[in-house]
Point group: C2
Chain length 202, copies 2
Amino acid sequence: MKIITINREFGSGGRELGKKLAEELGFAYYDKEIIDAIAEKSKLDPNYINKAIEDGMWRNYPVTFNNTFAYMPVIETPGTRLISWQSEVLHEIAAKSDCVIVGRAADAILDELHPLKLFIYADMEAKVIRCQERAEEGENLTDREMVRHIKKIDRSRASNHDLVASYRWGDRNGFDLCVNTTSVEIDSVIKPLAEYARAWFK
Amino acid sequence: MKIITINREFGSGGRELGKKLAEELGFAYYDKEIIDAIAEKSKLDPNYINKAIEDGMWRNYPVTFNNTFAYMPVIETPGTRLISWQSEVLHEIAAKSDCVIVGRAADAILDELHPLKLFIYADMEAKVIRCQERAEEGENLTDREMVRHIKKIDRSRASNHDLVASYRWGDRNGFDLCVNTTSVEIDSVIKPLAEYARAWFK
């Protein structure tokens, strides 16, 4: 199976890019669906799981290793059980069809399946503009508050990723292609990136 | 004019990638030609200039700023005069035709012309293999010596770059696209990258 994993800075358009890339390639696309699948498996509340995986609730989990998921000691805590369900779900997804998976440390958890690993990022100014444009009604953050919000979410993403990965979130050395969306229309680079992916999987 | 600048880790295949990308796009390609042009302008020996620009001889030049080239105080030293000739040559090249420029801090020096900035890199293991394959006869470095050699050259490139740039060599935030060549054939990604460049310049 061909797997593309996407890690992204909040506000960089990584999710949009992933979704459109999946459409272009005819790959399945997974994002929030992963949370629902873990919820079904674990019988836990999806909101709880989302909070745990995306907002960093399991950061209290004692970490004494800095290696890939495969080498993790199995200690039964709510955190490890969640990682274990997350890993099961991701492997099931990866076995089903070619796919694009956004976030959820899929790049690290599925490392041995050799996914094409993308990292999507942008300048802070561009991210703030994008987030303000997409803010729902009633969500009124000042630009300064938005910067804090973006940084907070990215810190959570980084720490959750780094818990199961042998390389740091956003460190280019861990990724195959790092795409800065500051100066491009996302729509315009979907076809070139799909071409890149096709070449990569050959 | 459309300008693509390429910075690259030694042994990552960045020069080959740049040359082939230029061919694919029908752009002019500049690499060592820059040294010759500076030599002509300055009446200095090309070997001296190459050493100064690539091997970090001007690192002794006193640096008290960390901003783009445009804000550099003009102090007449052999180092600043070289930077000034380098800048002149790069601007002349950029004004002539669409082009791909490899190294020589062109990304920073031509910043205000909005080049598409690529950074090419690879895992150390892949770089050592590539360098050993390309080593000329009689050039017998052990793998360990090769690692040291690669790191030394990259340190020089980084410090020469950072002297005139507002961002660090290899920091993804300073670049538009960072390409890891570890798991791909360079030939296979030339067309996708050319497509990416065309989309980017639209």
